[in-house]
Symmetry: C2
């Protein structure tokens, strides 16, 4: 009988703990030691913002496991407040320091798994130490303590955690402003989609300062754009990104990428074959060569399990990360997968873009909610490159599209997906099916223009025809458009022969019917993708002072 192996895991949250428990199930005899620098292992980091707002009332419910419970069930040797301070790769030992006593111990390992996570970035600005961050339970406690005496919070960064915190600080009754250097919230979305989230934030009293950078923090205010403006603030939270906690790996000479993330192969192995790494400190192999980093709990857990499998002799490969994500913002759901139009256009990729605005279930059944959907497709291969959904049932549609992407289903194949339908759950033609139908029409030669292309086309001499009703038109229309309702269009078609026409309606559906009609009369016709609804959102987002709500 061989002697038991020793596995050391650095970091006891998400990926690290998934690896530890999986290793135990695969190897009952192994010695498994988990070193965690913080107070807690296996806490619910994604739940932290919600305890700040009281949505999750019970703080203890965020602590999913304790060293004692993990010892009893999985025979894990879990050591909290214990930091791994050095790795001797030749000797295969890791030096662990007890942060309470300062005592150090060298622990031999047969395999080492690094799951150190990533730390919130603290920008190099005056007063940065006055800003709080939110990474662990101690951070959460600090924010709650500060919020008890605060009236006015400023959050730097309108990413997932920043917006979740904004909502929860509003729940506590604070005034909240969010400062974001990008021109829109939520980087995984494009501007016209993110604008829907921005409207929801503003409607709930969150002040947004977009395209604005936090450049200083003082006791009672923050400084914006190098002194261009200030905002009163007695609570400041920095949520402007994270940096990998790869110091231990760097000192051990493991390969890092330019951003400092630990480089791993598709079995989560670092440049040292006895050392694995998982979670937020690690380079992810991204779908479509996406260069953006991704920090997601699901991937950390999955890769932790994978590393354990490889160590235990069940090798398999990680699949590329799609970056599927979802956030709830004051009851509005926003979900996304894959790549944005913005990134792909910057790369010069040939893409098709589709916007739709269906209801999340049959309109005649009570409670139907608006859903804004966007699909980004490779124009040559019809591969789905990304999708964004905001509104009722958004996360369901993104899960379906993420699964289609994993299965290699092309965009037009979305039309043939057979999704569960009853009037309270969907439509006989589900919104995802409709995306496939629209893509199919584009492949078959239907032309569309995007909201940001309308003005340019008009300048080139294209006519813009609004096929909505006079009542809809009166509530707001694109400058330069003329009104011919869809039901009257057939009577006008002959005189449009030979012209170049953009048709527009509310969401693009009547426009599709109008375009199909006019094309058969010899009109060069393009449908405004997503209709007035998408055009308005994008235009309002970019020029908030020019377009009325």
């Amino acid at each position: 009988m061989t002697s038991p192996r020793t596995f050391v895991i650095v970091g006891g949250v998400a990926g690290g703990m998934s690896a530890a428990t999986r290793l135990r199930r695969l190897d009952e005899r192994a010695r498994i030691i988990v070193l965690e620098r913080g107070e807690h292992v296996s806490f619910a980091n994604c739940g932290l913002p919600y305890h700040v707002g009281g949505v999750i009332a019970d703080r203890e419910s965020l602590i999913l496991q304790t060293p004692a419970s993990l010892g009893a069930r999985f025979a894990l040797d879990v050591r909290v407040r214990t930091e791994a301070v050095a790795i001797d790769r030749d000797a295969r030992t890791v030096l662990a320091r007890d942060l309470t006593t300062g005592a150090e111990q060298s622990i031999g390992y047969d395999a080492l798994i690094l799951s150190p996570g990533a730390a919130p970035v603290r920008p190099d600005i005056p007063g940065v130490d006055l800003g709080l961050v939110l990474r662990d339970i101690a951070d959460m406690d600090r924010i709650i303590a500060a919020a008890q005496h605060a009236r006015r919070a400023v959050i730097a960064g309108a990413g997932f955690i920043g917006l979740e915190l904004a909502e929860n600080l509003r729940h506590r009754g604070l005034d909240v402003a969010v400062v974001q250097s990008m021109p829109h919230v939520l980087r995984p979305f494009d501007v016209e989609m993110a604008h829907i989230v921005a409207q929801r934030l503003r409607a709930n009293g969150v002040e947004l300062h977009l395209g604005t950078t936090l450049t200083g923090i003082a006791n009672d205010h923050v400084v914006l754009d190098g002194g261009a403006a200030t905002l009163p603030a007695d609570l400041v939270v920095l949520s402007v990104g994270v940096r990998p906690e790869s110091g231990l790996a760097r000192h051990a000479g493991l390969e890092l990428d330019a951003s400092g993330s630990i480089v791993v192969d598709d079995e989560q192995r670092t440049s040292d074959p006895a050392i694995f790494a998982v979670g937020d400190a690690v380079v992810k192999h991204r779908f479509d060569g996406d260069p953006s980093p991704v920090w997601l709990a699901g991937l950390a857990n999955r890769h932790g399990r994978l590393a354990a499998d490889v160590i235990a002799g069940r090798p398999h490969a990680a699949v590329p990360a799609l970056g599927t994500a979802v956030i709830g913002v004051f009851g509005l759901t926003a979900a996304a997968v894959g790549r944005t139009e913005r990134e792909l256009r910057e790369e010069g990729r040939a893409i098709r873009v589709i916007h739709t605005h269906p209801t999340n279930h049959a309109g005649y059944y009570p409670g139907a909610e608006q859903l804004a959907l966007k699909l980004v497709v490779d124009a040559d291969t019809d591969a789905i490159l990304g999708a964004q959904a905001i509104g009722g049932g958004a996360e369901k549609r993104i899960d379906v599209i993420a699964t289609a992407m994993a299965g290699g289903i092309p965009a037009r194949g979305l039309a043939d997906l057979e999704l569960a339908y009853a009037p309270q759950f969907g439509s006989a033609k589900d919104p995802v099916n409709m995306l496939g139908y629209v893509d199919d029409n584009l492949i078959e030669g239907e032309l569309t223009v995007q909201w940001h292309e309308v003005a340019g086309k008009q300048a080139e001499g294209w006519r813009l025809i609004d096929v909505r009703t006079p009542g809809e038109n009166a509530l707001g229309a694109i400058p330069g458009s003329e009104l011919i309702t869809l039901d009257e269009l057939r009577d006008h078609a002959e005189r449009l022969r030979g012209e170049r026409v953009i048709v527009t309606c509310k969401v693009g559906q009547r426009g599709h019917t109008a375009a199909a009609l006019l094309r058969q009369y010899g009109v060069t016709v393009a449908n405004l993708d997503g209709g007035y609804t998408t055009w308005w959102a994008g235009t309002a987002a970019l020029a908030p002072t020019l377009v009325a709500a």
Copy 2:
């Protein structure tokens, strides 16, 4: 310029109307005539039960289009109360009869699309004419009129429409009994899953008579099982299945299958190349050669569009139908796709079956609901053959699995799906991922037993060890089980070496950990799939008088 073509469509609901509007978009010049025998075209047939219960308050909202609106927008010639009574295939004419005046007209066609639907079966029993059915708006009006004076309704058939009606008649305050000849409700589910729905029905005052056949109807009661019992009833609805309305096709000599459904190729073409057929009267090409018929609005719409595409010169092929379906029952969601364990075992197929009972989102976030999931997998190829989900987020998980099936993702591949996670929407390891992990464990050699196999194994000498807590055990345990909690099991493992053991917990998760542990001590160990929860549901469903709730 060629002369315009004429397309005649028989049946103006779902598939027929999808075909008509699609044809118009593809061919502006064609003459398109829709013949509809009933009063209404394009009505929301899936919404009918909900107007009976007042959930959909406005009757007019069920009528989605009128002949006038379709004429104005799509230049369709829609004739209601007009029946197609004969087809002359050689002359390519259809004889249309105005049901109001009796006048007949012969209409030439270039292509004919049949979308006649299916009619509720009226069994050959005494008093059958006293029973109502629910197919169209006139039927709905009759049920509402009868319900106004009724106190006690009996519904024959516990399929989707039968149960939707049961719920809605309860909403009206009637006593409701459902009579079902199968031993459980909802044929697309297996008995232990259907039992969860049955419990919800009973908890809401619906009386269930399962394994019971309605054999007669009288003015104030119905007769069960040939006189074995009676039930008081002043309203009886028959919902025991449908038969294709293929009389017109039969008389025209088109090929039908043994059940009377119209045979079509994968472009929806009948045995006459100028005649297409779609919807509930048509044979569907089923996934995995599934022999069960399927009637779903989504397929009807999709196939209607497909037939129009083929006629207009854009041929493509229908994909096999999975039979994805969902129903809401008193707030409980039940969804399914593909094939059942019952059918596959009857066919003698080698399958793996997986039951899980997760919550639909992170347990620490308020509002988490129970979800029962079942996956049926081909034991040789790992292909997903079917799935069933009941509870919170059921339809989302079934949509994801249906998409995975369409994309050819094997069951273990579900582990790698990257699904949207935030604590209010899911878990870092989504329930669908967990199904993949369990399948992976089975592939790697973990043994499980199904709830219906426990007694047989015990008879063969297997020990049954309950690894739950004493408190859980005291609330109910499988006869013959002994209690050793999971956290104590390691201390008992050595003395079990060489034995055959079934481990059982609440849902199968602790059982998996227990099995992984014992196996490494040389125990032949199988985990009870789905734990006590699944065992109880299946056992209670089959022997309701033997097992207490």
